[in-house]
């Protein structure tokens, strides 16, 4: 897959996606979650308190099997604390957390067997070769010595590092280290991957490579639970999102439902060569229009933003209303309600 200008991917407006369609083309292939009730990660009233600071309060996380779940929230919202509890590194102050049906408190070994965890730092031994690094962790996961060489080759193949097998780990680039870490989390073939900020600190190309890898892993049947504060990442690959703020879940569910619930109206951007007032007049006769806003002109062309509710038929009616009057429309496109808007609406900026 070639992406000439990956930066465009960071601003998923209608136009940008049209110019770099590669990732959105991948999206329809995403696995569909079969059963929303089959939860592989579940917390019930999970709480964590550090002294007086309430890091997490009554968090009810629900991640269905097979989902790519984006756990979004501002820094300090409690994302890492939640992940540390789920990965058995920290005890909750209250509530329960289950992975594959095992309690993180009472059955940590079973939980560790079912998860692959990647923290928000690399965690690599600098004085090791790439294959030794994977061999070490495979051994830590009790994989028999005879199976390890084949497994290591498969993992390196998957993350596209086979050619660096005998290199020292500290010679790898950040993106390669991150991929190596991802390979490590897969050593014991876990059902769930828990990834803390997998794309942070990476350059745009490396970030896209990680994203592709996550989609690949989801197709292999893994449930992926990852945190991020980069909404573009979440927007493009997630099937589910959970928005956390100040230790509380403010919204959670399949991404489509979330968009509809939080952004019930749709937005259309129309570019004209002229006759603005006539265009507004024509549009006002179409049913379901909530408002029309002038946008700053681009290359001398007039742009307006139309907010409306309803089906695609409304858009067709709007286009007809404009063209029947001979108004020079040069661009007519729906702006996908991006997650940023959903996020802003959901969080109300309590923390940030």
């Amino acid at each position: 897959m070639s992406i000439d200008n990956p930066e465009i991917m960071e601003t998923p407006t209608g136009e940008a996606v049209a110019e770099a369609p590669s990732l959105t083309e991948v999206l329809p292939e995403l696995p569909t979650v079969m059963d929303e009730q089959d939860l592989i990660i579940e917390t019930r009233n999970l709480s964590k308190r550090y002294g007086r600071l309430q890091a997490i309060s009554n968090l009810n996380l629900q991640v269905p099997r097979g989902a790519i779940y984006g756990f979004v929230g501002p820094n300090g919202a409690g994302k890492t604390s939640t992940m540390r509890i789920l990965t058995t590194l920290m005890k909750p102050s209250g509530g329960e957390a289950y992975i594959s049906g095992y309690s993180v408190v009472t059955a940590p070994r079973e939980v560790r067997r079912s998860i692959g965890y990647m923290p928000d730092f690399f965690g690599v031994y600098e004085d090791m070769k790439v294959w030794e690094y994977l061999d070490f962790f495979a051994a830590c996961y009790e994989i028999p010595e005879a199976q390890r060489p084949g497994l290591i080759n498969d993992l390196l193949e998957l993350v596209d590092l086979a050619h660096r097998r005998d290199d020292m780990v500290d010679k790898l680039s950040r993106g390669m280290k991150q991929r190596l870490c991802l390979a490590r989390t897969l050593a014991h073939d876990p059902q769930v991957l828990i990834l803390d900020e997998p794309a942070s600190g990476l350059d745009p190309r490396a970030r896209i490579e990680i994203r592709e890898l996550l989609i690949e892993l989801a197709k292999m049947g893994k449930t992926i639970f990852f945190s991020s504060h980069i909404l573009a990442d979440v927007n493009e690959i997630c099937t589910h999102i959970g928005i956390i703020e100040a230790g509380q879940m403010v919204a959670q569910g399949p991404i489509k439902t979330m968009r509809q619930q939080l952004m019930p109206h749709r937005v259309l951007v129309i570019t004209l060569l002229g006759r603005l007032d006539e265009a507004k007049e024509a549009l006002l006769h179409v049913e379901g229009i909530l408002g029309i806003v002038d946008l700053p002109p681009e290359d001398g062309k007039i742009r307006i933003k139309v907010e409306f509710t309803g089906e695609d038929l409304r858009m067709s009616e709007m286009l007809q209303a404009l063209t029947s009057k001979g108004i020079p429309v040069v661009n007519f496109a729906e702006e996908s309600s991006d997650l940023e808007a959903v996020f802003m609406k959901a969080t109300k900026g309590i923390v940030s």
Binding site: L89, M90, R112, Y117, Y125, M128, F137, C140, P149
Partner: protein
């Protein structure tokens, strides 16, 4: 070239089961890679060998007996004792340096959390770290055996003495290694773990040496006419404890009993009232005590690591 395929072949190496411990394997690979391991070994042998040469020169000058010949037995014992003392000194400094960074280093390289989310048992982590560090210390000790054996050329030293000195040195290294790993597990900073380890070792050395000297002074100052054998017993045991807690005094008194009484495992003590009793030689008490203490420290470390951040 080593490939994963031929590594998995059945091996006759008796250490093979130990290398099943992933931590031990990883640490040994890392430790023996590059020039560092060989540089440390070479420097160690230069220091021990240099001192031995100096002592030989000084010793031949100082041990002429009345007939004008070199007293081989004395020179042999002086050389042997000195090599062991230097080894003891180096082991005391090197072992903590190898172990105090073992667990805290995992925190510093941000790999500790990764290890904790694997299925690796805490005891394997501690054992692997300890084994790999001690394996290298053992290598240093074994490498110096030829230098110890120079004493054989002059006589005055038996093979048993070399074995006992090696046992005491090994027990010392095992204990110090455990202390190093313990502090390394207790703190997340290698520097702090190093300081705490060295302070503890210094305290043990100072307290035991001072205690042994004081107890000895009191015993020698006893007046046979006024002292009871009961109070002498108390002093004897007190001195014994201090002597047996310190590797240097343990080795010195063991050798003293060996030379004077020709016994390896026991020695006779004569009370001021003329009665005698037989006691185990200090090296036995030393080795058993420190090995047991090492096991206790090992379990304390493992227990600490098992705790989940609350």
């Amino acid at each position: 070239m080593e490939t994963p395929a031929n590594r998995s072949r059945i091996s006759l190496n008796p250490l093979r089961p130990l290398l099943r411990n992933p931590v031990a394997l990883k640490e040994l690979r890392g430790r023996m890679r590059g020039p560092r391991a060989f540089v440390v070994l070479t420097c160690y042998l230069i220091v021990v060998g240099g001192f031995t040469t100096l002592l030989y020169i000084a010793g031949t000058a100082a041990t002429y007996n009345t007939t004008g010949e070199v007293d081989g037995g004395t020179l042999g014992r002086v050389l042997f004792g000195s090599v062991v003392a230097i080894e003891l000194f180096l082991v005391t400094f090197i072992t903590p340096a190898f172990t105090a960074g073992s667990i805290s280093g995992e925190h510093e390289s941000q790999t500790y959390d990764l290890l904790r989310t694997t299925l690796l048992p805490e005891r394997q982590l501690v054992f692997g770290k300890l084994f790999s560090a001690l394996a290298y210390v053992f290598l240093l000790l074994l490498a110096a055996i030829p230098l110890q054996s120079i004493a054989f050329l002059f006589g005055g030293v038996d093979v048993e003495e070399i074995v006992i000195s090696l046992l005491v040195l090994l027990a010392t290294a095992i204990f110090l290694g455990n202390i190093g790993v313990y502090y390394s597990a207790m703190t997340h900073r290698t520097l702090r773990a190093n300081i705490m380890t060295y302070v503890t070792i210094l305290a043990v050395i100072l307290v035991t040496t001072a205690g042994a000297v004081i107890a000895l002074a009191i015993v020698e100052g006893l007046d046979p006419s006024t002292s009871s054998s009961g109070s002498e017993w108390v002093l004897l045991v007190a001195r014994g404890i201090f002597v047996c807690l310190n590797p240097l005094t343990t080795l010195l008194s063991t050798q003293q009993y060996l030379v004077n009484q020709q016994t390896l495992f026991t020695f006779k003590y004569t009370f001021t009232d003329g009665t005698t009793t037989t006691l185990p030689s200090p090296w036995i008490a030393f080795t058993i005590f420190y090995l047991l203490l090492s096991v206790a420290v090992f379990f304390a470390t493992t227990r600490h690591l098992k705790r989940i951040e609350g």
